[in-house]
Amino acid sequence: MLELQNIDVFYGNIQALHDISITIRQGEIVTLIGANGAGKSTTLMTISGILPPRHGRVIFLNQQISGLMPDRIVQLGISQVPEGRHIFPALTVSENLDLGAFLRRDHAAIADDKAWLYGLFPILEKRRQQPGGTLSGGEQQMLAIARALMARPKLLLLDEPSMGLAPLITKQIFEILLKLNKEHQTTIFLVEQNANLALRIAHRAYVLENGRVVLQGDAAVLRDNPVVQKAYLGM
C-alpha cells in the first residue's frame, strides 16, 4: 500500500534519514521504533509531504506521492497524528475536529463520525466549546487522535500517541486502533516509545537507528530479539 524506496532526507546539510526503505501492506499495523532522535518523526513527515526527500520515492497505492503537496496527500487518504499534538489552540475542540474532516464533503457522515468520536472520548464532548489550547496535555492528545480519525484515513500515521496519556486511556486508544484496523481495514503506521505496547499490537516492525533501518520483521519475532529487548523494552 505504502512504499518508501531508498529515502534520504536532509535538514539543511544534516542528513536525518539514510536510504530508508519501508513497506506497509494494506490492512497492516506496522510500527517503527527507535531511540530519541533516530528519525522516526522525520519519516512520518516525509510520508505526509512536509519534508521532501532528496533521493528516493514514496509510493502510495501505486502512485508516487513524494513531491506532491501535503494537501494532495491527505486527500489520497493519509492522515497523521503529529508529534507534539499540534492542536489549533484558539479553535474550540469541535472546530478542531471539523478541521480534521476538512477535505470531506459528506456532511451527514461527518456528523456521525463526530458523534462516534465524542462517544469514544467523552471528555472531549464535555470540553466541546473550549479552546483547544486550554486542554490538559492528555486531553489534547485525545483530540489530536480524534481529529486524525475525522479524515477517515486509509492510512493512519501516529507519532507517539501514548505520550502523556493516563494508562487507562492508553489502553483504550490501542483498543480503538485495533478495532479500526480490524473493522475498517484502516492501515496503521505507528511510531511509539512504548515499544512493549507497540510490538504487541503490530504485525510487523522496523527499528530505526541514527536514520537507518537496522532491523525489520514480524513484531512477535522482534519482541523476542535480545537486542531489541535490551535497547527498547528496558529489560
Binding site: S48, H86, A90, L91, T134
Partner: protein, 300 residues
C-alpha cells in the same frame, strides 16, 4: 446636540475610511502574523489604478454609475494582483525566517512601491473625480453626511459582515483560521496553505482598493504617499480592535475615528492624534489584546 451628531457622523466617516484599510491589515496579520506595512500601498495603487481607469472612461463619456463600477473593478483586480505578487516575492520566501525579517521586507516593499509609482506616474497631487453622485434624498442632511460619506459607511459595514461570515462559516474561512494558528498542522489536515495565504492577500488588497477608490473620491485628490499615512492609522485601528478580529478592525476604526472627531470638536484638532494614540495605549493597558481580540492561549 446637533453639533454632537455632526461630530458623530464625521467620526463615523473617518472610522469607515480607516476600516476599509484596517480589514485587510487585520486579515493579513491574522493569517501570517505579519504587520504588512505594504498594505497601505495596495490602497494607494488601487487609488491610482482607479484614477487612470476613471479618467479614460470619463473621457469616453461613460455614464457615472458605469464609471464607478468599472473603476472599482479595475482597482480591485490590479491591487489584488499586486498583493498577490508582493506576497510571492517578499514574504513567501521568508515563511520560516526569524519573526522580524518579513517585517523589514514589508517596510522595504512599502518604500519600493511608493517610489515605483512615483517614478512611473508622478509625485504630485492629482485631482480625483467624484464618482459618487449626490444622492437627492441625502440633500437635506448634506451638512451632516454627504453621499460619499454614506457610501463609505455602508460599504465598510457590508465588507465587515461578508468577511465575518466568510471567516466564521465557510470552508475557506476555516482553512484561514487553521493556517493562522499552525501552518504545519493545517497542511496535515489537507489545507493548501500557500493558496490560502495568497487568497488572503488578494482579498485584503482588493478591499484596500475599494477603499482607495472610495476614499480618493471622497477626498478628491491622491498622491503616492497617501498609503503610508492611512496605513499607520488603519494599523492602529486594527490593533485597537484586537488584531486578527474582523469585527474588531471595524470597531477599532470607529473608536479611533470618533475619538479623533470628538477631540477635534470638543478639545482641539491639534491634539486629535495625541488623544487617539493615548486612547490606544490606555485601552491596551486594560485589554492587552484589544477590544475584541482573544487573549492568546498559552497553556503552561
Amino acid at each position: 446636540m446637533e453639533y454632537f451628531i455632526e461630530l458623530l457622523f464625521s467620526g463615523l466617516t473617518r472610522g469607515s475610511i480607516y476600516a476599509l484599510i484596517a480589514l485587510g491589515y487585520t486579515m493579513v496579520y491574522g493569517i501570517i502574523g505579519l504587520i504588512n506595512f505594504a498594505h497601505g500601498e495596495m490602497y494607494m495603487i488601487g487609488a491610482f489604478t482607479g484614477l487612470i481607469v476613471a479618467e479614460i472612461l470619463l473621457i469616453y463619456q461613460f455614464p457615472l454609475p458605469a464609471v464607478f463600477v468599472l473603476t472599482a473593478l479595475a482597482a480591485v483586480i490590479w491591487s489584488s494582483a499586486y498583493g498577490f505578487t508582493v506576497e510571492r516575492i517578499a514574504y513567501r520566501p521568508l515563511r520560516k525566517a526569524p519573526r522580524l525579517a518579513p517585517l523589514i521586507s514589508a517596510i522595504g516593499m512599502s518604500i519600493f512601491l511608493q517610489n515605483y509609482v512615483q517614478l512611473v506616474q508622478t509625485a504630485d497631487f492629482l485631482p480625483f473625480p467624484s464618482l459618487i453622485p449626490e444622492f437627492a434624498f441625502l440633500e437635506p442632511y448634506a451638512g451632516i453626511i454627504g453621499s460619499t460619506d454614506a457610501a463609505i459607511l455602508v460599504v465598510s459595514l457590508i465588507a465587515m459582515l461578508l468577511l465575518s461570515v466568510m471567516v466564521k462559516w465557510t470552508r475557506i474561512g476555516k482553512a484561514m483560521r487553521a493556517t493562522a494558528q499552525d501552518q504545519k498542522m493545517a497542511l496535515l489536515v489537507g489545507v493548501n496553505v500557500d493558496r490560502i495565504i495568497s487568497f488572503t492577500f488578494i482579498l485584503g488588497s482588493g478591499l484596500a482598493a475599494i477603499g482607495g477608490v472610495l476614499i480618493a473620491s471622497h477626498v478628491g485628490q491622491i498622491n503616492v504617499f497617501i498609503g503610508f499615512i492611512a496605513g499607520i492609522k488603519a494599523f492602529t485601528a486594527a490593533v485597537l480592535g484586537g488584531i486578527g478580529s474582523i469585527p474588531g478592525a471595524v470597531l477599532g476604526s470607529y473608536v479611533l475615528g470618533l475619538t479623533e472627531s470628538l477631540t477635534t470638536g470638543y478639545v482641539s484638532s491639534d491634539y486629535e492624534d495625541v488623544f487617539a494614540f493615548a486612547l490606544l495605549v490606555l485601552i491596551l493597558i486594560f485589554r492587552p489584546s484589544g477590544l475584541l481580540g482573544k487573549a492568546s492561549v498559552d497553556k503552561v
